[in-house]
């Protein structure tokens, strides 16, 4: 155990947890990492490629090594950084990416063979024999690769979404962020302050620098209290702003209940989309390390992290308390860690400083101009080799802090591909101040890394941001902060023969970079891709700048000439659960229900998804076993008596205005403007490229007032295109479009007895063929005064009507029709029978109108009026469209017992079954109860001239082919007598 005095943990609240099944205790305020360190656990994970033993390397979201599988069962969460897991009672974690136990990982064999696994090795081998890749090499690689495992069970938790629109978003709640939020909050601006940690204060929580004579953490707490009291300020802890998007929009994830032992009904995480007028990036900085031979052992960590563990969590990272600690540095910050540890009475070897003139800042030894050239300790650091003045010496060491300088956290600033600029004094990339519109960068993120600088810079940034949006803030009273030394001299890696890790998680060493250089993979993107540098779950936060420096040394260029580091969203990995939040099951997308849905449900209808809609597919009767029995019965009822089907899903658009007729003429290929009040006309719409787009009817209710119907699938799109025509093409036409699809329940009443049935519900309305012939429409009342619209149109080829009533009455109207039509044999029918009926009649539907067809193919070329212009008319006359000889025809099997299968391709008898001889395909097929055999529709080359020819319907996909006879697509009543009857 290595708890020391002080810290921000609550020692009175003990929390129990397990790691690899073994029970431990920590305190409230611990992370899993700090709690494991407090229990002397150094070995936490295995690296990606060589399966090297690894421990905690950092104290934050840059952690490359200490990744665990958190929780179990369906909540198992792989690759979770122990440094970011807030400890809770009952937490379970397990190590990952090993075969056998963590301490005896069989895959550690890879480490012995590491010379074979140099950068890019896999591009050079595993090629022979060819078939071995999928069968042998790749599965083996996959098993060894990957990190943690998913449970493969559906995520049981729920996720939420929200939207915020503050004046100012402050990202990061350290010294700069707190000061910015305070300045803006006091000025009355709407402020959101987000921080990934569960406490505000950022680096102040890890340091012992005083602010306004208070410990930094105490000052942060005071400021937090004031911010909490301001109604215009919203503090969001446990909230990671992960991406910067256009126009001031940021994505953020709030971990609502991840830290709660029993979250109950609470959501797990919330995805916030934050649209801010201005944003302050105050995300601090991440420390670099200095590669040396075997620098990856558990017990070696960033010096700043070591300081954070001591100051905030009161732990030191040795396996045993009392094991001496050393610091390796090229800058003053390493000395600050030594000072902090010394102040807490921790045994120190001293500071190994690469700078020749380095001096101790306190009571500890400093090895000036010295380096570390090796380490020992397979599962935890045992000793290090210090080289100084040409001599080297092994010394026992329980933990080593490494300080290579700090990199501003430029990540979000580079999400718009803005490149940071090199600061040669500070030896680091700082973000370009103009990297992103509306973004101000403050504090350590801007290279203003001391506490005093960060406080002042946060206030400055807030004032600047507010003034840009017309708000003014009083100049903040900037509290005085203690001094912090910042000297640094460039030292990027310790040269040597052994492996010195640059990118820990992906096992990229200095040697790998040298090999990339040798093989001419020198551009930074080639370097990354060849070696996998920076491609691990930490996106190389602790590795990339160092790697650039190594490459720069090899090429003799400067670091900025060699390349820059940019990062892609997200800043830290974000759960897919929250990004795809909301309903993922049956409510993944909304359902539209037809007005008769409740009735259909009560009748035991089988429903089918049709786009957004749920439609009754058929209505099984108790004695029906196979769906075909139901569908055949329904279809027959329409042919023989009368059927009723809910067709509300067809789009309905109300078109009004003095120029409505002219407008419709331009929208439809055929002449539509001449349809008279009380009449309906069928219409075909083309796209502007001349292809068929949609079909439907247009009913003229009164002079200048039309109702247009569209297909179910295209309802929204047709409306949008009509609005485009109205607003963008012909704004001078005085016409109004209102979508009224939902307002009216529309029922198709079809069959020879449909007139009889409807006559029983209409109020004083002459239904006779003379008074209300085919293609008539009228407004009327039914069932004792209910306003309704009646259309005499037919999809089935039978005498048929569609009747529309206000949607709330649709259900009752359906009930009434079924009730009063019992003696007529009235039968409800679903979409399946609807499909059979329209195929029998040869009506094109979605399978035929698939966007690839032309009016010619549909046999409707004469509908494209030559007397007027309309959308698509000109282009429909291009050679390729006019010359297309495929025609919609009908098919019946030569052997009536054979099926017709939609999707089969048509081949002329005797021709080979290949693409060259492809003559078309079957678009739709069904069993026709009317004909007593299967039938189909399809497009066939010169089909209209091939009636009675036998062709092959080839379906090699399913290994069948059937001989079909070409027939007219109108299987029923080709003369159209029934519907006019």
């Amino acid at each position: 155990m290595s708890r020391i005095q002080g810290g921000l943990i609550d020692r009175s609240r003990k929390l129990s947890f397990t790691f690899n099944g073994k029970p431990y205790q920590g305190c409230a305020g611990d992370t899993l990492a700090s709690a494991l360190l407090a229990n002397g656990v150094q070995l936490i994970g295995r690296s990606f490629k060589y399966h090297r033993p690894r421990g905690v390397f950092s104290a934050g979201s840059e952690e490359p090594n200490a990744l665990v599988e958190l929780s179990g069962g369906a909540r198992q969460e792989p690759n979770t950084r122990a440094t970011g897991i807030e400890l809770y009672d009952g937490l379970q974690a397990n190590s990952q990416n090993h075969i056998g136990s963590l301490s005896h990982d069989l895959l550690a064999l890879n480490d012995l063979f590491s010379p074979f696994f140099a950068a890019g090795f896999y591009y050079k081998t595993f090629m022979w024999p060819r078939a071995f890749w999928e069968k042998l090499y790749e599965p083996a690689i996959r098993r060894a690769a990957g990190l943690g495992a998913l449970s493969m069970l559906p995520d049981p938790d729920s996720y939420d979404r929200g939207y915020l629109h503050p004046d100012l978003l402050v990202i990061g709640g350290g010294a700069a962020g707190l000061m910015a939020a305070l300045t803006a909050g006091r000025a009355g601006a709407q402020v959101v302050l987000a921080d990934e940690d569960f406490m505000l204060g950022g680096r102040l929580l890890a340091e012992d620098t005083a602010i306004a004579d208070l410990p930094g953490a105490a000052w942060a707490k005071e400021v937090t209290t004031e911010l909490q009291s301001l109604p215009n300020v919203r503090l969001m802890t446990r909230t990671t702003v992960f991406g910067a998007y256009d126009h001031g929009i940021y994505g953020a994830v709030e971990r609502v209940s991840d830290h709660i032992a029993d979250p109950g009904a609470s959501v797990r995480q919330t995805l916030w989309r934050i649209t801010a007028k201005r944003t302050i990036l105050a995300t601090g900085a991440t420390e670099r390390h200095i590669p040396f031979e075997n620098n990856d052992r558990p017990g070696i960590m960033l010096s700043g992290a070591m300081r954070a563990y001591a100051n905030r969590w009161a732990v030191t990272p040795q396996a045993k308390a009392g094991d001496p600690i050393a610091i390796f540095t090229n800058n003053d910050d390493g000395h600050r860690t030594a000072l902090a540890l010394a102040a807490k009475g921790v045994a120190l070897h001293g500071v190994i400083d690469t700078r020749a003139g380095a001096k101790s800042l306190g009571d500890y030894e400093t090895f000036a101009g010295a380096t570390i050239t090796g380490s020992k300790g397979r599962k935890g650091l045992k000793s290090i080799r210090i080289a100084q003045a040409g001599r080297s010496e092994w010394i026992d060491c329980g933990a080593l802090g490494v300080a290579g300088g700090w990199n501003p956290n430029v990540h979000l600033a580079s999400h718009h591909r803005g490149r940071p600029v090199w600061d040669a004094d500070k030896l680091t990339f700082v973000p370009d101040a103009d990297s992103l519109p509306g973004l101000h960068i403050a504090g350590a993120a801007a290279g203003q890394g001391t506490t005093a600088e960060a406080l002042a810079d946060g206030a400055r940034a807030a004032m600047a941001a507010l003034s840009e949006i017309g708000l003014s803030a009083a100049p903040a009273d900037i509290p005085r902060a203690g001094e912090e030394p910042t000297g640094i001299e460039a030292f990027w890696h310790v040269p040597g023969k052994g492996r010195a890790w640059v990118d820990f998680q992906n096992d990229v060493t200095v040697k790998d970079i040298k090999l990339a250089h040798q093989e001419n993979m020198r551009p930074v993107e080639h370097l990354k891709r060849w070696t996998t540098l920076g491609m691990a779950t930490d996106q190389g936060k602790t590795a990339n700048v160092t790697a650039l420096a190594v490459m720069a040394e090899l090429t003799g260029k400067t670091i900025p000439e060699t390349g820059t580091t940019i990062f892609r969203p997200p800043y830290t990995p974000v759960s897919l659960g929250v990004l795809g939040g909301g309903d993922s099951g049956a409510n993944f997308r909304p359902h539209r229900l037809t007005p008769t849905h409740a009735w259909a449900e009560s009748q035991g209808a089988v429903f089918v998804e049709v786009g957004q809609w749920m439609r009754a597919q058929w209505f099984p009767q108790p004695d029906e076993i196979h769906w075909r029995e139901s569908v055949d019965r329904e279809a027959k009822a329409v042919r023989d008596a009368v059927g009723v089907c809910d067709v509300t899903t067809l789009g309905k658009i109300d078109v009004q205005g003095p120029d409505a007729a002219e407008f419709l003429n331009r929208i439809y290929a055929n002449m539509m403007g001449t349809v008279k009040p009380g009449k309906v006309r069928y219409g075909l719409m083309l796209r502007e490229d001349g292809h068929a787009y949609d079909d439907g009817t247009c009913a003229c209710l009164a002079e200048g007032h039309y109702v247009v119907t569209t297909t179910t699938a295209n309802a929204g799109l047709v409306y949008q295109r009509m609005e485009f025509a109205r607003q963008c093409l012909w704004p001078d036409l005085d016409v109004t479009l209102i979508s009224t699809t939902d307002a009216w329940a529309q029922l198709a009443v079809a069959g020879p007895k449909s007139r009889e049935l409807l006559s029983r519900i209409v109020d004083d309305f002459d239904m006779s063929n003379d008074a209300f012939p085919f293609m008539s429409c009228s407004e009327l009342t039914v069932c004792g005064g209910l306003r309704a619209r009646l259309f005499r149109i037919s999809f089935s080829g039978e005498l048929a009507y569609e009747i529309a009533v206000p949607a709330r009455y649709g259900n009752a109207l359906m009930e009434r029709l079924i009730e009063v039509g019992q003696d007529l044999g009235v039968t409800p029918y679903g979409t399946e029978a609807l499909g059979v009926l329209r195929i029998e009649k040869g009506h094109a539907a979605g399978n035929e109108l698939n966007g690839q067809t032309t009016a010619n193919m549909l046999g409707m070329q004469r509908m494209v009026s030559l007397k007027k212009d309309s959308i698509g008319a000109v282009m429909s006359r291009r050679e390729g469209l006019i010359g297309d000889k495929r025609r919609l025809v009908g098919f019946v099997p030569v052997d009536a017992t054979q099926p017709v299968v939609a999707g089969s391709h048509l081949i002329t008898q005797g021709d080979p079954v290949d693409m060259e001889h492809d003559q078309g395909w079957i678009t739709s097929a069904c069993y026709s109860p009317h004909l007593g055999s299967a039938i189909g529709l399809g497009y066939l080359e010169n089909g209209d001239q091939r009636f009675d020819e036998e062709v092959i319907a080839a379906n090699p996909l399913e290994g069948v082919s059937v001989r079909l006879r070409v027939v007219s697509p109108h299987f029923i009543d080709p003369e159209g007598e029934r519907l006019r009857d």
Binding site: F48, P78, N79, P115, A118, F121, Y122, K124, T125, R143, A145, G146, L147, G148, A149, L150, S151, M152, P154, D155, D157, Y245, D246, K511, L515, E519, N520, H526, A536, T537, Q539, R568, P569, P573, S575, L576, G577, L579, G580, G581, S584, A586, N587, F588, V608, E609, R687, D689, N850, Q852, E879, I882, A902, G903, V913, D914, M915, D918, P956, L957
Partner: protein, 416 residues
Amino acid sequence: MGFSGFRVIKEALTGHKGWGTLWRNPEPQAEYDIVIVGGGGHGLATAYYLASVYKQSRIAVLEKGWLGSGNIGRNTTIIRSNYLLPGNQPFYEFSMKLWENQEQDLNFNSMVSQRSILNLFHSDGQRDAYRRRGNAMHLSGADGQLLSQDDLRQMVPFLNFDNARFPIKGALMQKRAGTARHDGVAWGYARGADQRGVDLIQNCEVTGFRIENGTIRGVETSRGYIGAKKVGVAVAGSSSRVMAMAGMRLPIESHVLQAFVSEGLKPTIPGVITFGAGHFYVSQSDKGGLVFGGDIDGYNSYAQRGNLPVVEDVIEGGMALMPMIGRARLLRSWGGIMDMSMDGSPIIDKTHIDGLYFNGGWCYGGFKATPASGYAFAHLLATDTPHNTATAFRFDRFSRGHVIDEKGVGAQPNLH
């Protein structure tokens, strides 16, 4: 010297000192027979096949950045030949056959992994359309199978079969489809071309064409003028900009397509899966990341980054399809510029300028086409006639009315 397992062992034992460069860094010469503009996958493949198959010489590839820095370096690595229309399907099947021999051909492991693709369907209409497509695949000599829901429950039991808004009813499977290591493909072709004498010139941006009397003479570049008898342009993401320098307007809009990769995971997903009722497709890389994508953002863009609505839409689709990925995390997302053509199909054709050839408009399907695109473009450049699998990819198909519109959405590029 060639790559092999033996060589890797030998070098490992001798400190890797023997590895040479993968390619040279030549200075541009004053003139070439053929200049390829664009050192992405298609440009490099073109150069490789020009040198290897068509025995052309004096070839240069001009790349404004680093080799493979275009869409070959940022895509979701899927290879397949499951197209519908006769203008497309034989070409993609040709490409698939080239993939199947690529590693041996190039002596470079581009990790072509024929792990299959499943195109799920969710309605009878979709099934019919997939049957039509599957049969078109068979007609062109490709493989395909129609799977039932029961087959899928065996094969991919983690899909959401029982609580889905859009139930999974089956799938069209192509077993020979799969993935390849995208960067490896670029490097393999680059190395192969370099070994055959092609000059690969990086950091060399073409800034203009020199055209005299309707004939190409050469290109102006950031590294000076380079003469050329023939110039082939293969610059996905920059097609309109580059061809505008030759005074051409193209039937192309450039859009952003985002792609995503999760943190590394132990083997989770066997092959490629595409959701038929949402915008989502996924595979798993050899390193363990789930590589996935969905729709383009939908607006013209050269910004190489997208926005949150599509991020959410894509991942919503993923969660609906396979809710067991909720605990996995998104590691990285990125955006590439897609040259979306007016019918969703590419162009490999001569231009009205003698000696100037164009290859582009691959929408977001260019990766799988890389070998055949290079081969067919090389054929066109070398012989002045279209390759027999690429005869439909002409400029004039739009004006003549012979579009190759797989989706049937017309001249609206953001819907293809």
